[in-house]
Symmetry: C2
Subunit: 571 residues, 2 copies
């Protein structure tokens, strides 16, 4: 028997039959709402009878144990984010749910790539546990590219055995974004093993800019979807090649406006929406899929079609049977819209319960006790770090990572080192700072040091244990002692961010969950993060998001240059 | 690991990569065809490179080991029949394939309901064996309603154990048409067990005319598709309720014209085509899915959209991964159309091989040796039948089955019996004939006898071992001796049809495979069948298809009256 999201209950089925047939009152009847019918692509007025969290019937139904009058309002399936990393929001899974559910989100498909890098399968089990009992569906894809490369040292590896172990989770919907497309094109053994193990599963792609014969080779290897297209032509080519195009509108990458012209009468069934990431600011002030829908409708997309692309289409693609439509047998995961075109979410229902109203989680909708993520705490294991570990050999200092504001790509620069004594040091006037990456998972004592240009610090240092993908501790600074102090602060917090100048901590925040997530509520997390960004600006940085950029300085799979714990790396 | 239609081969994958990248010649390159892109919903000109039976790339490719110039012609995925009973064609599976492949059919999803009634799971294993190596994909749904009712005596039962055994076949795509909707609505134990066993599978529906609350209750129980809608309103209601609407255009039921208005920009992703049945005449003279497409296009449907509904949509619905599109990684199951709008099939390819050209199967495309269906031969096991077994008690003769030309429904008639001595006999002037059903699977000796009106025979008798759903031997006649003779002829042939008058066989044909299928080629089967229909007309029948109607006279699940081996039954 196949794994089931919602196992079949004979008793519930029989009750649902009686409710559908009008022989027994429903738990809840939603009266006279205008159904957003994402299957027929239109709207119509009807009652919805709900029994045991599932829609028993849509039509004309007598009062239920509870009835809600929806006359003049719209009733749609709650929204589904087809691909998102919750880690990007800096908050833990329950807090993420608390933030997005009032925006009408009923499910996400998340790729727990960051947690997998830090804590492997045991870490994902903690995340899975945290997702239970929340007022939304949390589905997982299996991290497919951990470690990101041989040049990084994550906390854990995620191989074929881990894929097999995770595949049997009912909440697991497929293999996650297959980022290592060069390995795919080269036919690597590791990829072969993962493709073999993931047969019959959905497999998510991730191939920014890939076109032509390479795209044919890549897509023909299995990835059935892609969220990395940024231009119309690229997206159309991927759609033609057989991929579900996930149009991404996130906090970092915003592709909706460029890709919306792709969505026509002929292509819309093969397009859906995803966010990929939502930062704390967006969750606090902007919204989630509701925001994407609002934008899409403003840009001219029919509202029912837009909602289809954030409900039925991702549910159908990910084979979330019984999710994403207002129809009998479907989960009663619904949103009430006070206005259709502006996607004003008045109420969110999950499994037949009202879980958010007027922008707020309803009391009791969240589990009374959230499990402590014990298995993800105390994740920083760093060998003692001394000033001498930060020494940069002049022989290795004729190159620098060229950071580009607002991009995760970097340039590989040739530079003249600033020599003091027998070592290369930072030069503030030339914006040549030191970039340090300290292995922090297994206390190996490995430290990589190099130059970086583009941060613009006039003094002090910044450090972060958010450092894609291996999430070691990365720091940038004008002064070795400040770098050391900032790293020490992050380590002391068991992960986090710190800004230091002249030996003083200007700002810091703890990210004690896996070293990358806050254990605080969203608003406090956002405030702490803003204090850190402000501190970085005080130190002289003119970047829009200095910590955001710092987090990518050790990512060894995006061109052109990085510093990892293994040293200066060119890609 | 999940069952796989096409298991992953690392060597083939690596070769496909090299071919896609242009590093190695393809086995076959289709040059300059106009691709019918069912994913993007349009057409474009490109080359298709094929390696090991799979599409490696679509784009610009150098010559392959073989190249075919398709300039000015269209290249589409080969057609998929979303639901068909091959048994309706009276020919065995390989002969069915031989007939439909030249019409561009690349796959069928067949519900082997008839064979299951006669020979159970072992019979289906024989059918599965026969399907192997044929130049098209043959996928199975699991018969869900065997026996059709407690009033019939099929050769075998098909319960939860059989469902479980068949579910693991890679060729098995789901649970077959759930016809017993009254049992579903009543929440029967047997249905509960089958729904439980079929969790996570696709489940095909079958609920003619079901609407309103009953439809909500039925669809909410699981059936995700339906091919029984005959009106626009019914089809729209089913689509809204969450069902994939399979628009049926068969030999018996033709719903295309009535349902095509349902197919709009908003609904087409939830509509596809199926035939349900194709009789010998249609296979010989009309075609298969190509014919349905031609009709749909003539009725105004966009050709690319029409083809989508006979390729991608059914493949996606049935989760035939890698079927139904011209894209990398897809099976090279293709049709070349000499003309798009008239769906002129010039060539059919299966797994990269040309298997039909100019309306004919290519030599070598069929397996050199077809396995004999030994397990389905000698299926008639009838107890000795005497004239006295055909006696009709006057007490049971105040009612008759009222046959309706061209319909499978009947009327329950009250009649005055024609009494001779102590028994009720046929009355030709009143068109009151005897209808007999003889149990033939387990030699139980059970015989049902009743009156029937509507066949119009002036003399003689007709007998058939095609008798839905249990496929006992059914006969109609004006004379008991002729009825006995006709049944004896059918039994002697180990199944078949016979027409008898005055003790003489006017025509007969053997259907030795399970007692319902010919072992002859299509044309000979068609000719024999026509001789029988002609003979029935000689006997006085004015029906359009007397044997066609006779085959439904023992079907105990369609209103209003029948004669089964258990006697006169009202529904």
């Amino acid at each position: 028997m196949k794994k089931q999201i919602s196992p079949f209950s004979v008793a519930n089925w029989r009750r649902r039959l009686r409710v559908a047939l009008g022989e027994e009152p429903a738990d809840l009847v939603l009266v006279d709402g205008t159904i957003v019918d994402v299957l027929a692509g239109d709207t119509y007025v009807a009652d919805v009878a709900i029994a045991d969290g599932v829609i028993a019937g849509v039509g004309q139904y007598a009062e239920g144990h509870v009835s809600i009058d929806l006359a003049g309002r719209w009733l749609a399936p709650s929204f589904i984010d087809a691909h998102v990393h919750t880690e990007s929001a800096l908050v833990w899974v329950p807090e993420f749910a608390r933030a997005v559910v009032p925006h009408g989100t009923g499910a996400i498909v998340t790729d727990p790539h960051e947690i997998a890098n830090i804590a492997g399968l045991p870490g994902l089990e903690v995340m899975r546990e945290a997702a239970r009992g929340l007022p939304m569906g949390i589905f997982f894809t299996i991290p497919s590219c951990v470690p990101a490369s041989a040049w990084e040292s994550p906390g854990a590896n995620f191989g074929v055995a881990e894929i097999a172990a995770m595949a049997v989770w009912p909440e697991c919907v497929g293999l996650g974004e297959l980022m290592s497309f060069p390995d795919v094109l080269a036919g690597h053994d590791g990829i072969a093993a993962k493709l073999s193990e993931s047969q019959g599963m959905r497999r998510d792609g991730h191939a920014p800019g890939l076109r032509g014969p390479a795209l044919q080779a890549y897509v023909g290897s299995g990835p059935g979807s892609d969220h990395e297209a940024t231009t119309y032509d690229e997206a159309l080519e991927k759609l033609r090649a057989g991929q579900m195009v996930m149009i991404r509108e996130g906090s970092s990458a915003r592709n909706l406006e460029a890709l919306l012209p792709l969505v026509t009468d002929a292509t819309y069934p093969r397009c859906c929406f995803c966010s990929d990431d939502r930062d704390v600011h967006a969750l606090l002030h902007v919204g989630h899929m509701d925001h994407t829908l609002r934008l899409a409708i403003e840009l001219g997309l029919d509202p029912v079609r837009a909602i289809r692309m954030a409900t039925w289409t991702p549910a159908d693609y990910w084979r979330l049977e019984g999710w994403g439509a207002v129809a009998p047998g479907f989960q009663a995961n619904l949103v009430v819209l006070d206005d259709l075109r502006s996607v004003q979410v008045g109420m969110t229902m999950y499994q037949g319960q009202v879980v958010a109203e007027a922008g707020m989680i309803v009391p009791g909708a969240m589990p009374a006790e959230l499990p402590a993520p014990a298995g993800l705490l105390n994740s920083v294991h760093m060998a003692p770090l001394m000033l001498r570990n930060l020494r940069l050999d002049p022989a290795n200092a004729r190159q620098a990572v060229g950071a580009i504001p607002g991009e995760i790509a970097t340039r590989w620069l040739q530079v003249e080192p600033e020599i003091r004594g027998d070592e290369a040091v930072a030069s503030v006037p030339r914006d040549l700072l030191k970039l340090v990456c300290v292995e922090r998972h297994h206390a190996t004592g490995r430290v990589g040091v190099g130059y970086v240009q583009g941060f613009g610090l006039q003094r002090g240092a910044l450090a972060s244990s958010i450092a894609h993908d291996a999430h070691n501790i990365v720091a940038v600074g004008a002064d070795d002692a400040d770098i050391l102090r900032a790293i020490a602060m992050v380590a002391e917090n068991q992960g986090g961010l710190a800004a230091v100048a002249d030996g003083e901590i200007l700002a810091h925040m703890a990210l004690p969950i896996a070293g990358i997530l806050s254990d605080l509520p969203l608003a406090e997390t956002a405030a702490a993060y803003e204090r850190l960004e402000d501190a970085a600006r005080v130190l002289g940085s003119r970047l829009p998001s200095p910590f955001g950029l710092l987090a990518f300085m050790a990512l060894s799979v995006i061109p052109e240059a990085r510093v990892t714990d293994k040293g200066f790396v060119t890609v």
